[in-house]
C-alpha cells in the first residue's frame, strides 16, 4: 500500500487563511507549501490517500474585482505544486468567496485538465454561476457546518482523484448540474410515467426523471422616455444607513431594510450616514457614503435639469449573506412604495 499519495492543492480566502478580515480582502494571490486553516480538518479527512502539498490564498475583493486576471494568477500558483486535484473552500454563504471558489475550480478543470471540487451554501451566488461546470457540495449557511462538510468534501475529492465514476447528484450529494445521462432501467418509460402519474394522483411522493430548470427571469421594462421629467430613486444593498443605524440593520443576513429621508440633504457625509454592511471594509464608505449612494452627483444632475428629481427617500439593506427570500421580499416592498411615490426608475447600487 506504499502507493504515491494524491497531491492536493487547497484554495482559501484571506479570512479562512487567518490573514485577516475585510481590511485584508484586497490581498493578491499568494501560496504556501503548508496546510492552512480548514486545511487541517481536510487533511485529517483525506487520510493516507492524499496529501495537501500547498495552499493558495487570495483576498475576496481582489478576486471579485478582477476575476479573470485573478483566476490566471491563482492558477499559476496552483500549477507550481504539480497537483493531482484541487479543493476550494468551503465558502458557505460568502458570496465573493463562493464565486472565487467556483472560478478557481472551473479554471483548474479547463486549463490544467485536473479534477476540482468545492463546497458552498446553495444560495451562494457562486453556486448558480458555476454549478453547471463544477462539482459543488452543499453546506450550511455558516462555518458552523465546517465539521460536517469536510469529510464529505474529502470523500468526494478522493473519488474524483481515483477517477471513479460520479453518479447522480442525489446519490453522490453534490448540487445538480443539470446534465442528462442515459441509463439502463428494467422498466420502459411509459410504465415509469404511469407510476409517477398514479403516485401524483394519490398524493404520494415521486421523483421526476426530468426536473425542469427553474428560470426566474424578469424581462426588462421599457426605457425612461424623458429623463428631464423623471423621478429617480436610489436603493442600495451596500448598507448605507442614517448615522447610528437607527433601524439596527444587521451587518450580515439582514432581516429588514431601512428607508431614509433625503430632504434637505445635498450629499452624504461621515456626519450624516455610515455603512452597516459587515461584508466589506467600511473605511471608504464611512469616509464618504456618496461612494456607495451617489447623492452628491444626483443633486447636481437635478439642479442642472438632467433629471426631474431625486426621490425623497432612499432605501437600503445589507446584501451580505442575506437570504434570497428576504432580498426578494425587500425588493417587492421597496418597489411598491416607490411606485406609490411616483418614481420613474431606480438606480440600485451594490458593494
Amino acid at each position: 500500500m506504499a502507493e504515491k499519495k494524491f497531491r492536493v492543492v487547497h484554495y482559501l480566502n484571506q479570512f479562512f487563511a487567518q490573514i485577516g478580515g475585510e481590511e485584508k480582502a484586497n490581498i493578491p494571490p499568494e501560496s504556501r507549501a503548508e496546510v492552512v486553516g480548514p486545511g487541517l480538518g481536510l487533511k485529517a479527512a483525506l487520510g493516507q490517500e492524499a496529501e495537501i502539498v500547498g495552499t493558495v490564498i487570495c483576498g475576496d475583493s481582489y478576486f471579485g474585482e478582477n476575476m479573470e486576471a485573478a483566476s490566471a494568477e491563482v492558477l499559476n500558483l496552483i500549477k507550481e505544486f504539480e497537483p493531482d486535484l484541487v479543493i476550494a473552500g468551503p465558502a458557505f454563504n460568502a458570496g465573493r468567496y463562493g464565486a472565487a471558489c467556483g472560478a478557481v475550480c472551473a479554471a483548474v478543470q479547463r486549463e490544467l485538465n485536473l479534477p476540482a471540487v468545492t463546497a458552498m451554501y446553495p444560495e451562494n451566488p457562486g453556486t448558480d454561476i458555476y454549478k453547471k461546470e463544477v462539482y459543488i457540495l452543499p453546506t450550511g449557511g455558516s462555518a458552523a457546518s465546517m465539521r460536517k462538510v469536510l469529510p464529505k468534501l474529502a470523500a468526494f475529492a478522493l473519488k474524483l482523484a481515483r477517477g471513479e465514476a460520479i453518479g447522480d447528484p442525489a446519490e453522490e450529494g453534490y448540487i445538480a448540474r443539470g446534465i442528462r445521462k442515459n441509463i439502463m432501467t428494467h422498466k420502459p418509460g411509459a410504465e415509469r410515467a404511469m407510476e409517477m402519474l398514479l403516485a401524483k394522483i394519490k398524493g404520494q411522493p415521486f421523483t421526476t426523471e426530468l426536473p425542469m430548470p427553474a428560470f426566474d427571469r424578469v424581462a426588462p421594462n421599457p426605457p425612461v422616455k424623458d429623463m428631464a421629467q423623471a423621478t429617480i430613486a436610489l436603493v442600495t444593498s451596500g448598507g448605507i444607513v442614517a448615522k447610528g443605524n437607527p433601524d439596527h440593520i444587521e451587518a450580515s443576513s439582514a432581516s429588514k431594510f431601512g428607508k431614509y429621508s433625503l430632504a434637505g440633504l445635498d450629499n452624504m457625509t461621515s456626519e450624516t450616514h455610515e455603512t452597516a454592511h459587515g461584508g466589506y471594509d467600511p473605511t471608504y464608505a464611512n469616509d464618504d457614503p456618496d461612494r456607495v449612494v451617489p447623492l452628491d452627483v444626483m443633486r447636481d444632475l437635478e439642479r442642472e435639469g438632467k433629471i426631474g428629481k431625486v426621490f425623497e427617500y432612499f432605501y437600503a439593506t445589507v446584501g451580505n449573506g442575506t437570504s434570497v427570500a428576504n432580498a426578494a421580499k425587500f425588493g417587492a416592498e421597496i418597489a411598491k412604495e416607490l411606485k406609490e411615490g411616483g418614481v420613474t426608475a431606480v438606480i440600485l447600487t451594490s458593494t
Binding site: 475585510e22 480582502a25 475583493s61 471579485g64 474585482e65 476575476m67 458570496g95 465573493r96 464565486a99 451566488p125 454561476i129 426566474d216 427571469r217 424578469v218 424581462a219 426588462p220 421594462n221 421599457p222 426605457p223 425612461v224 429623463m227 423623471a230 429617480i232 436603493v235 444593498s237 451596500g238 466589506y280 471594509d281 467600511p282 471608504y284 464608505a285 469616509d287 456618496d290 461612494r291 456607495v292 451617489p294 452628491d296 452627483v297 444632475l301 438632467k306 433629471i307 439593506t317 446584501g319 426578494a328 425587500f330 425588493g331 417587492a332 421597496i334 418597489a335 411598491k336 416607490l338 411606485k339 420613474t344 426608475a345 431606480v346 438606480i347 440600485l348 447600487t349 451594490s350 458593494t351
Partner: protein, 77 residues
C-alpha cells in the same frame, strides 16, 4: 432585490463591481463599477476628480435607463 423592482414595473439599473453576481441575480441593465468597498468612488483620487469619476458612472447609469434592452445587458464603455 433588483429583479423584484423590475418585476413591479420600474426600470432599474444595477451598479456593481462583481458583474457575474449581477447577471446571476437577474439584473437586466448592469453598469460595472470601481471596486467592492467603493463602487462609486476611488479614495486614491483627489476629491474633485473622484466626483468627476462618480458623475461619469451615474451618467452611464442614466443612459442605461434610457436605452431599450431585450435581455441582460452590461453597459461597458
Amino acid at each position: 432585490m433588483v429583479k423584484e423592482i423590475e418585476r413591479a414595473g420600474l426600470p432599474v439599473v444595477h451598479m456593481c463591481t462583481v458583474v457575474p453576481i449581477s447577471l446571476t441575480v437577474g439584473a437586466n441593465r448592469i453598469v460595472p463599477t470601481v471596486a467592492i468597498p467603493h463602487p462609486l468612488g476611488d479614495p486614491e483620487l483627489p476629491e474633485a476628480e473622484e466626483k468627476v469619476l462618480r458623475r461619469a458612472l451615474v451618467e452611464k447609469a442614466l443612459k442605461a435607463l434610457e436605452t431599450p434592452v431585450d435581455g441582460q445587458h452590461v453597459f461597458e464603455e
